[in-house]
Amino acid sequence: MSEEHAPRPEEDRREFAEETESLWRVTFAPALWALHFLACYGLVSLACARGLFPIGATRAGLVGLTLLVLAGIAWLGWRGFRQWDVHSTGRRANPGGHAEDRHQFLGHAAFLLAIISFIGVIFVSLPLIMLEGCR
């Protein structure tokens, strides 16, 4: 990770290249929540309103999808937690002005967003398990 450096051309492109992975991690967990949500709503509508596929199979398939999505979010959260690096640095908040602080902050944000997305996915999949049919 780069520390302070002289100004250089195309600063934005270089910064994004440097933090691509953590920026993906920050946006990916909530994006997975959103995709999971749309899949649940969309496929159930197609099953119920359009009758394209049986609702039982749809529910089972979506529960399977839920497990996959949860695993994905958990992995993202773990990577974020590692990037936050609270164990070795002991710094919970990252209020400093160095590149390292920014990097750890992005890790922390990714970790927390993964937690909230994880909970969100569990909430949204509860009706799949608890409600039957298309009534």
């Binding site: 051309p9 934005d12 929540w33 159930v44 002005g97 992005l106 909230i116």
Partner: protein, 860 residues
């Protein structure tokens, strides 16, 4: 990605060293610089004052106008309450009552809550970021004048007994079949304002991304800036579905295309979906920026840094995402399958978690600090109490069976007013008291402020708490009167009386705001001992924003760096001078805020007024079915905007001006193109919103297919295959030619580039022709299937028209020397537009040409 020529790369030391910062500036040099800077940023005087574009002026007009509309809507609320005070009252007629509640809701949402966020942000965000102004001041001014024209048009309709009557969410078929121009005034007037809102959102996002002070990395941004970014992003995803809905709705009102008419295959539910995909995030679009004000006031009141900065960022982003999964909780009684309701019910409960995290972080900050119960803090305390109550009834309403019981009753009215007063009015009032010394350099009265607080707080609770009960006793919303003997009489009378206590509180507040303060001493520079950059403002006022743009290394620079203020004032930091006499601000990188460019900022001008006036005409004339004047206005608006862009944006600097001294030994380029430039980001963000709107129209197509057994109807005429194929090929070719033009121009081959630009425009015109040919066999008023195909074609044709104008603009720029191989910002931005246009055109052609075949199981 092409390489920048190395002679325009930033040069010099960064970050600045302590010794450089400590070096004094000779007094006579400083005086000369100060004078030049003051002259460059001087606000125009006399009648020319109204041509100002400074964020300080536009922000003031914007917020006062929003306040005025809020007071108008408040008066409407008082008339509503007077009418409901006693049973069987005949104060106003049923129709007038419908106009009142429709306009009360619409004005509070579209003319007050969202514009107020934009107004306050335009006013204070540059200060927080140590920027001199927003990146596109004339765009803010354009947005403001659009808002003023549209707002007066919409709210003025009630004076002519012509206001919309169908409720603020305009459900069809009631609204599509309503007589008179009311529904059209709502649709077109508010669409016009939504366009202005999106313009402001783009400006605020770009301001936060590219105009931060050097060194302010993403982990150091003031929380307000984080919220602005989240809310700006939400506006870009939430408003476009409504604009798409308005587009379909107005096509039905004006040309009888039956999108929402079930007798011809339409479906009123599509409007409900589109409206609430906008409408629920809208609640958070209003709530988050207001709570952002709390996030600025609370650390100051507690006199310590915020507890859980990352947690608050998480909850802002998390709320932003989750709020898009709640929309159907407004539609629990529309007969969707229970399991679908369950998803939305669950998501509505889940959104409480991030919302709660913010409130707990605030409480933790207050507990960990030494709280000073200042007036702003009092309003914040009131906000937290009221919002939490509203949140709790929200949890009840998110449970579908409970919602079935109280749907459309006064319980809902009570709930939404609790969330909006607690989540918006009270924090904004806190913000007014807190930021008033920053804005007007005077303090508001402590005594009047406490009076206003207790009047509004008490009045609010006595008005709205009983409404929960009125609702549970079964009183429906939006009835203009009610019979006696149902147990509603006393509760309504109490609500009506207390409404006037709220009004008295606002009267005290408005008096405090507008009373002459000439004899009052100037406010101290940092009256609350805050730690963020806006409190480095100058008292008495200077219009330059900040004397010199500081280098920032912490979240609360005023607390952490005792030398900062003196150095800013001494012109020790960046851009201490305006050597060319022009307005400039510093552009920094998105993640780490490294200095990248000195950007020229536009000054006072009448062109935003001209553009806003004609844009207004283009939206307002169709209300009265005057299409030719509207088209004429549209052409004039486009011409005015082209003139504005041509004269003042992205002009190549003189060769000796390519690189300039930014202070502290740093030399920066004055021209940027592509992702380094603010304009490119603005285009990218705008196109994101545009793509969302287009997706909503496409969603409409698939919605009809999902919801109806015979879509497309058997035997229906389909789009012409040859025309569709021609359109797809032509648009792909136009995109390829634009891309080639960009490459050729970059490589210095200007003649072939011009040829490609011209050919691209011709190809795009051929694409338009192809689409017209494709929809020629359809008759859109016969059924929703041809109607939605035609709507998609209209959308693409309008965008392709713009795409042609842009290509020709670049061609003209190349011929006139505005666009050169090195100075190709215009062309890069146009290319971005064409990426989105080509993608939407191909999707449109696929829907027109392929989807019907797949759906009916045979070739169309």
């Amino acid at each position: 990605m092409t390489k920048e020529p190395s002679d325009t790369a930033p040069r010099g030391p960064f970050p600045p060293e302590e010794a450089m910062l400590a070096e004094p500036v000779p007094p006579e040099l400083d005086a000369a610089r100060t004078a030049r800077l003051r002259a460059a940023w001087k606000a125009p005087t006399g009648w020319r004052y109204w041509s100002a574009v400074n964020n300080t002026e536009v922000g003031k007009w914007y917020s006062l106008t929003a306040l005025f509309f809020m007071l108008c809507a408040g008066v409407m609320a008082l008339i509503i309450r007077l009418q409901l005070a006693v049973p069987e009252n005949e104060l106003v007629s049923s129709d007038r009552f419908s106009q009142l509640f429709t306009l009360h809701g619409s004005a509070m949402m579209f003319l007050f809550a969202v514009p107020m966020f934009e107004a306050i942000s335009i006013l204070i965000l540059p200060g927080m970021l140590g920027a001199r102004d927003m990146p596109f001041p004339r765009l803010s001014a354009f947005g403001y004048w659009c808002f003023l024209i549209g707002g007066v048009f919409v709210i003025g309709s009630i004076l002519f007994d012509a206001a919309p009557t169908s409720g603020w969410f305009m459900y069809p078929p009631l609204a599509t079949q309503a007589e008179g121009p009311g529904s059209d005034i709502w649709l077109l007037g508010l669409s016009f304002i939504e366009v202005a809102s999106i313009a402001a959102a783009v400006e605020l996002i770009v301001g936060t991304l590219k105009c931060r002070p050097p060194g302010m990395r993403v982990n150091l941004m003031p929380l307000y800036a984080w919220y602005v970014m989240v809310v700006g992003g939400m506006i870009l995803f939430a408003f476009p579905p409504l604009i798409a809905g308005d587009f379909l709705f107005e096509l039905e009102r004006s040309f009888d295309w039956p999108f929402f008419d079930p007798t011809r295959g339409g479906d009123p539910m599509l409007w409900q979906h589109l409206f609430w995909i906008f409408g629920h995030p809208e609640v958070y679009i209003i709530f988050l920026p207001s709570i952002a004000i709390a996030a600025m006031i609370i650390p100051t009141a507690a006199r310590r840094p915020i507890v859980g900065y990352s947690w608050i960022v998480l909850s802002a982003v998390g709320t932003g995402f989750l709020s898009f999964g709640l929309w159907v909780h407004h539609m629990f009684t529309t007969g969707l399958p229970n399991i679908s309701l369950g998803f939305f019910s669950a998501a509505s409960e889940a959104v409480v978690i991030p919302t709660g995290v913010q409130l707990f972080a605030f409480l933790a900050t207050l507990m960990a600090g030494r709280v000073k119960m200042s007036l702003p803090m009092l309003w914040i305390a009131g906000a937290l109490a009221i919002f939490t109550t509203g949140g709790l009834t929200g949890l009840m309403l998110a449970i579908a069976p409970f919602d079935f019981q109280v749907h459309d009753t006064y319980f809902v009215v009570a709930h939404l007013h609790y969330t909006l007063f607690g989540g918006m009015i009270f924090p904004v009032m806190a913000g007014v008291y807190y930021f008033y010394p920053f804005i007007a350099k005077k303090l508001l009265s402590e005594r009047l402020g406490r009076w206003a607080f207790w009047l509004i707080f008490t009045g609010f609770n006595v008005t709205f708490l009983p409404m929960h009960l009125t609702g549970l006793l079964g009183m429906p919303r939006r009835v203009y009167t009610y019979p006696t003997g149902l147990g509603w009489d006393g509760l309504n009378l109490v609500s009506s009386l207390a409404a006037f206590v709220i009004a008295a509180g606002f009267a005290v507040f408005v008096w405090d705001l507008v009373r002459p303060k000439g004899g009052q001493p100037l406010a101290p520079r940092n009256p609350w001992d805050a730690g963020t950059l806006e409190w480095t403002h100058d008292v008495p006022e200077e219009t330059w924003g900040v004397r010199s743009i500081p280098h920032v290394t912490s979240r609360y620079p005023l607390w952490d760096d005792p030398a900062l203020l003196a150095r800013i004032d001494a012109g020790r930091y960046y851009l201490p001078d305006a050597e060319t006499g022009r307005r400039e601000t510093l552009i920094t990188s998105v993640i780490d805020a490294e200095p990248m460019q000195i950007q020229r900022v536009t000054g006072p001008s009448w062109i935003p007024h001209v553009a806003a006036g004609f844009t207004g005409g283009a939206f307002i004339f169709p209300t009265f079915h005057l299409y030719w004047p509207a088209i004429l206005c549209g052409i004039c608006a486009v011409s005015a905007i082209l003139w504005w862009l041509w004269r003042d944006t992205a002009r190549p600097p003189a060769p000796e001006d390519e690189m300039r001294d930014a202070g502290l030994g740093l030399r920066l380029p004055t021209y940027a193109a592509g992702p380094s430039s603010a304009g490119w980001w603005a285009m990218w963000i705008t196109m994101f919103g545009d793509a969302t709107a287009f997706s909503s129209v496409i969603f409409g197509f698939f919605f009809y297919w999902t919801a109806q057994p015979d879509f497309p109807p058997p035997g229906a005429a389909h789009a012409d295959g040859t025309g569709t194929a021609l359109a797809a090929l032509a648009f792909a070719a136009a995109w390829g030619l634009a891309r080639a033009a960009q490459r050729l121009n970059r490589g210095g081959r200007r003649e072939p580039a011009r040829l490609a630009l011209g050919a691209g425009a011709v190809a795009a015109a051929a694409g338009i022709g192809g689409l017209l040919l494709a929809v020629a066999p359809l008759s859109p008023s016969s059924h929703v299937y041809p109607a939605i195909l035609c709507a998609i074609a209209v959308w693409i044709i309008a965008h392709a028209g713009l795409g042609i104008v842009m290509l020709l603009y670049c061609l003209a720029g190349s011929l006139a020397g505005k666009l050169t191989p090195r100075h190709d910002a215009d062309l890069q931005n146009v290319m971005l537009f064409w990426h989105f246009l080509a993608a939407s055109a191909l999707v449109a052609c696929a829907v027109l040409g392929l989807a019907p075949g797949l759906m009916t199981g045979g070739a169309p």
